[in-house]
């Protein structure tokens, strides 16, 4: 069986997380931002799997299933919100949706 050192596995998860973060920061479209959040979620889940493998404990995999459930719920709510936002503002640009901001500052 191919063995990859645990450091490399963690680094991979870190890169995945960073990609998600950068995507969140640079994209202005709400749908892509949601996807970026998904990527970050998955990188966190990946770390759990890696840890479970490393110490031969099932807890990490239990936690990953838990995270999957949360992610599913989050996507459902997120997409519903995005749908509402699009109905209301006719745009998905996050910078244009700033009705809470003061006009004078």
């Amino acid at each position: 069986m191919l063995t990859v050192p645990v450091e490399t596995q963690i680094l991979f998860a870190g890169i995945l997380f960073f990609i998600g973060l950068v995507g969140l920061l640079v994209r202005r479209n709400l749908v892509f931002m949601l996807m970026s959040i998904e990527i970050m979620f998955n990188s966190a889940g990946l770390v759990f799997i890696i840890a479970a493998r490393h110490w031969d404990q099932p807890d990490g995999q239990v936690m990953f299933i838990f995270i999957l459930a949360v992610t599913a719920v989050e996507v459902a709510i997120g997409l519903a919100l995005i749908l509402q936002v699009y109905h209301h503002f006719k745009t998905l640009d996050v910078d244009a949706i700033n009705k809470l901001k003061d006009d004078n500052s």
Binding site: V94, D95, N98, D102
Partner: protein, 625 residues
């Protein structure tokens, strides 16, 4: 009996606390009667205590009680202790009894005022402070009462605080009396440093034993205490606050600025008379200040056209008489005049209050006129008060008290013919301005119609005070007219009697002169202000009249000499180092605000980035540790 003297000041204080804490929940009726009732019970207790004091056969003619230790540090000891002797008794009687009548009157007078409960709370606090002042056994507690009445005076002058002028008048009264009080507290410190005690009786005994007559320390201390008395009693040169203090409601003017608080200076000098007898120079100064003040205030009263300001100048003038009496060593005459003055001046202020209220806040006497038929009860009581003020011979109490002062101002060993002449001149002015007031206000044609009739709550106190203004004088009659010495006998238990020059007793002649002077003053008022008002019209526009009306321009002089230089200095010194320091702190805060508000730009991704940077920073810190 000893415990009762502690209850007397406690009653108004308890009432004050009730009104302050639960005032909002009480009905107007309840808070009025709590305020007046507590003072009424205090008056009753004072009378009971007074009777028992007069009837006590033991040698000690005083009651004393130590309640608790107030300050106890090293050799500095001060107790909350009261002492009631005949001098305090007379003051207590006037404060509680006249105070009670004024409180009853106030229930009617303040009926429609929105600050009804607040008014009674302040009034009760005042009565309590004033009682502490006259009952205190040590000079520090007396100073507490002294400042307490000053505070209440400030609060009540500015009672209608929505008018900015009232606030200014209140501050003026507070600041000017503070000048005197500063001198007084320094005097108290000197006494403590010299004798190591605050107890008044001990101080007086030690002073007599340790200080020589005319020694510089005695003169300085007496002069400093006199400074306090001058400020509080509105005497030259600190008299300018009293006419402005008339901005307060009329019952306040009657209670604080006529009957009680302004005579605190008289009480202080009488109480510490030993110090003043050790400083003959200061005593002479007191007499001269009294004589000058009574003349200046008399002339000023002659030119006023605000009813209450006339009475205010008249009060300054009458307290001038008391100081004259104190200065020549006639303590009992001063205290006697204090009591009679409290009766008739409270009466005049209360009557003036009714007039002003009924005429819808009209203060100008030239806009009144013809009120004799419209409000007879007020007219007759006001007439009695004015007659007593102008010392109408034989029938009024004011005659007996003022005559005693005039006689002693000549016949006492400290007296002189000049002081007597000033006093007689003052008596003439008093008669003139009193009856000018009567003729202009109550006679002639009606200029303003009364809007309603004053109720029984307001007229009953007037009638009682009128009776006292007429018959209150019979407790002390001069040797030439029946020779009754009940009052001076009482006062002389604690105060030294007056020392008479070795001269022929011509008291009847002096009485005749002052009687004729008073009558001629009234006659001249009748001629000039009733029969031939045209003559006075020319005088009204003269510069002399204007000078009198402004109270000899003292305000203008003080403004140029003291106020303007200080204001100028403050203006010039606006940008010195310390101000710059404060200004730069403010500027720094403002700059911080500008920078930080840039981050609050409403851009979601900007916030996210800051989160990310923050987390990265924290993680880095954790790893490097």
């Amino acid at each position: 009996m000893n415990t009762i003297i502690a209850i007397i000041p406690a009653l108004p204080f308890i009432s004050f606390l009730i009104l302050v804490l639960f005032g909002g929940k009480l009905s107007r009726r309840a808070s009025g009667w709590i305020g007046a009732g507590s003072v009424g019970i205090a008056a009753l207790l004072t009378i009971i205590t007074g009777i028992s004091l007069l009837n006590s056969v033991t040698g000690e003619k005083y009651y004393t009680i130590i309640l608790w230790k107030w300050i106890h540090a090293a050799n500095l000891n001060a107790e909350i202790a009261f002492r009631l002797d005949s001098l305090s008794l007379i003051f207590c009687f006037v404060i509680t009894f006249v105070g009670f009548l004024i409180h009853i009157y106030s229930i009617g007078f303040m009926e429609k005022d929105e600050g009804f409960t607040r008014f009674f709370a302040y009034m009760n606090l005042f009565v309590c402070s004033m009682l502490i002042l006259v009952l205190a056994d040590n000079i520090l507690l007396m100073y507490l009462g002294w400042e307490g009445v000053g505070l209440c005076s400030y609060l009540l002058i500015g009672f209608w605080y929505k008018e900015p002028e009232n606030g200014t008048a209140a501050r003026k009264a507070f600041i000017i009396t503070r000048i005197g009080d500063t001198a007084m507290i320094i005097g108290i410190f000197i006494l403590f440093v010299s004798f190591g005690t605050f107890n008044i009786q001990d101080i007086m005994q030690l002073a007599q034993a340790k200080w020589a007559v005319g020694s510089s320390i005695a003169v300085i201390t007496a002069a400093l205490l006199l400074g306090g008395a001058l400020g509080k009693s509105a005497q030259l040169p600190l008299q300018t606050w009293l006419p402005d203090a008339m901005a307060g409601p009329s019952p306040v003017s009657a209670l604080i600025h006529a009957a009680t608080m302004v005579t605190a200076g008289v009480y202080l000098i009488a109480r510490t008379n030993v110090l003043f007898s050790l400083a003959p120079a200061v005593q002479t100064v007191i007499a001269i200040i009294g004589a000058l003040t009574l003349l200046i205030a008399g002339f000023s009263a002659l030119a006023q056209h605000d009813l209450k300001r006339i009475l205010a100048y008249s009060t300054i003038s009458q307290i001038g008489y008391m100081f004259l009496a104190l200065g020549v060593g006639a303590y009992s005459a001063a205290i006697f005049h204090f009591m009679i003055h409290a009766f008739f001046k409270a009466l005049l202020f209360l009557a003036a209050g009714v007039i002003i209220l009924v005429l819808n806040e009209e203060h100008d006497i030239f806009k009144m006129g013809g009120l004799r038929k419209k409000m007879p009860a007020v007219f007759w009581t006001f007439l009695i008060g004015s007659a007593s003020l102008s010392a109408l011979p034989l029938v009024t109490a004011g005659f007996y008290s003022k005559d005693a002062i005039l006689w002693f101002s000549y016949s006492s060993i400290n007296g002189s013919i000049i002081l007597w002449m000033a006093g007689v001149m003052g008596a003439f002015l008093t008669a003139l301005y009193s009856f000018r007031m009567i003729f202009i206000t109550f006679f002639g044609k009606t200029n303003t119609e009364p809007s309603f009739k004053a109720g029984i709550l307001m007229t009953a106190p007037l009638l009682i005070l009128a009776v006292l203004s007429l018959f209150g004088g019979f407790v002390e009659l001069p040797a030439s007219l029946g020779s009754v010495h009940l009052f001076s006998g009482l006062v002389n238990q604690v105060l030294p009697g007056v020392v008479i020059k070795n001269i022929e007793n011509m008291e009847w002649l002096f009485q005749l002169i002052s009687g004729v002077i008073a009558l001629s003053g009234i006659y001249l008022a009748y001629r000039f202000y009733y029969r031939k008002p045209a003559y006075m019209e020319t005088f009204k526009n003269s510069r002399l009249n204007h000078f009198f009306e402004k109270g000899f321009e003292f305000d203008k002089v003080y403004d140029t000499v003291f106020v303007k230089p200080v204001v100028w200095l403050a203006e010039t010194d606006k940008k010195d180092f310390f101000d710059q320091l404060n200004i730069s702190i403010a500027k720094l805060a403002l700059l911080g605000n500008r920078v930080m508000s840039l981050t609050e730009n409403g851009k979601l991704r900007w916030y996210l980035l800051s989160f990310a940077i923050g987390i990265a920073l924290i993680l880095t810190l954790m790893m490097t540790q």
